[in-house]
């Protein structure tokens, strides 16, 4: 995900996420908000899958599964060219991925699960965690979870795909590997590395 310029680093970061979203059947766009001119170091940006509408998912038998929502905070940082090959890369600063029941009579459905990490938010829970029905208030600690993992969970809920399940999983593995090769922590920020 490194780049010679911040703009290149951002697009190297987003391209695999596009591929991951593309395995799901339906209309999807990654909307980048808060760009405020050129991408620059030190500014937090965000992307959202289809904005406030989210991505409606249908099952393989044509039924409604719910609304897949995904948003991520990211920042362009300076990178060690000796390690990353280029002087800029993008790091994740928070995420929220979730599957929500389909709205009923105009009222938003309940969350079925949500993967959250919001270290800069107003919560004592600053580690990655999972909320899952029926007790959505509980924070189940998790390692850092990827967007690709959230897409896999949607597939686990029988979401219809644009390709074969094998192709989808291969795409997600490739995309996630790209992320894993460049990230600096897995369980907790600042964890010891070997």
């Amino acid at each position: 995900m490194p780049g010679h310029e911040p703009n290149e680093a951002v697009h190297e970061f987003l391209d695999p996420l596009e591929d991951a979203a593309a395995v799901l059947d339906g209309f999807s766009k990654l909307l980048v908000l808060g760009k405020k001119g050129l991408y620059r170091v030190g500014q937090i940006y965000m992307w959202s899958l289809n904005g406030e509408a989210g991505m409606p998912l249908r099952s393989n038998d044509g039924g409604d599964i719910g609304i897949f929502r995904a948003a991520m905070h990211f920042e362009v940082i300076e990178a060690d060219p000796a390690k990353y090959g280029k002087p800029y890369r993008v790091t994740t600063r928070g995420y929220s991925y979730g599957l929500e029941e389909k709205p009923k009579r105009g009222v938003a459905g309940n969350d079925l699960w949500r993967m959250d990490w919001h270290p800069n938010g107003r919560s004592p829970v600053d580690y990655p965690h999972l909320h899952i029905a029926p007790n959505m208030k509980a924070h189940q600690p998790t390692p850092r979870l990827t967007f690709e993992k959230a897409v896999e969970w949607c597939i686990g809920f029988d979401a219809k795909l644009c390709c074969s399940p094998q192709e989808a999983l291969s795409t997600l593995l490739l995309s996630e590997t790209n992320h894993r090769l460049n990230r600096t922590w897995n369980e907790r920020p600042g964890e010891p590395v070997g």
């Binding site: 209309f27 766009k29 909307l31 937090i44 965000m46 904005g51 919001h118 909320h131 192709e167």
Partner: protein
């Protein structure tokens, strides 16, 4: 990879105006208040001592803060 006709993926960079409008819509959808009111109440510290997850919609709107800040 074989794709169905319904595939439509891409990256779209919203303008500042579009970003602010989306932030406003999310605040209204999630908390029933305007984006401007959300920012006022946030800056006033209304939610400082609360768990973000205990206020319905707060986390969802907070995720969109970079759209306007």
């Amino acid at each position: 990879m074989t794709r169905s006709a319904t595939r439509s993926v891409g990256v779209v960079e919203l303008t500042d105006t579009e970003s602010a409008a989306m932030f406003d819509r999310v605040a209204r959808r999630e908390m029933g208040i305007s984006g401007a009111e959300f920012l006022e109440r946030l800056d006033a510290g209304e939610w400082d001592d609360l768990n973000q997850d205990d206020v319905p919609g707060l986390l969802s709107v907070w995720m969109y803060l970079p759209a306007v800040r």
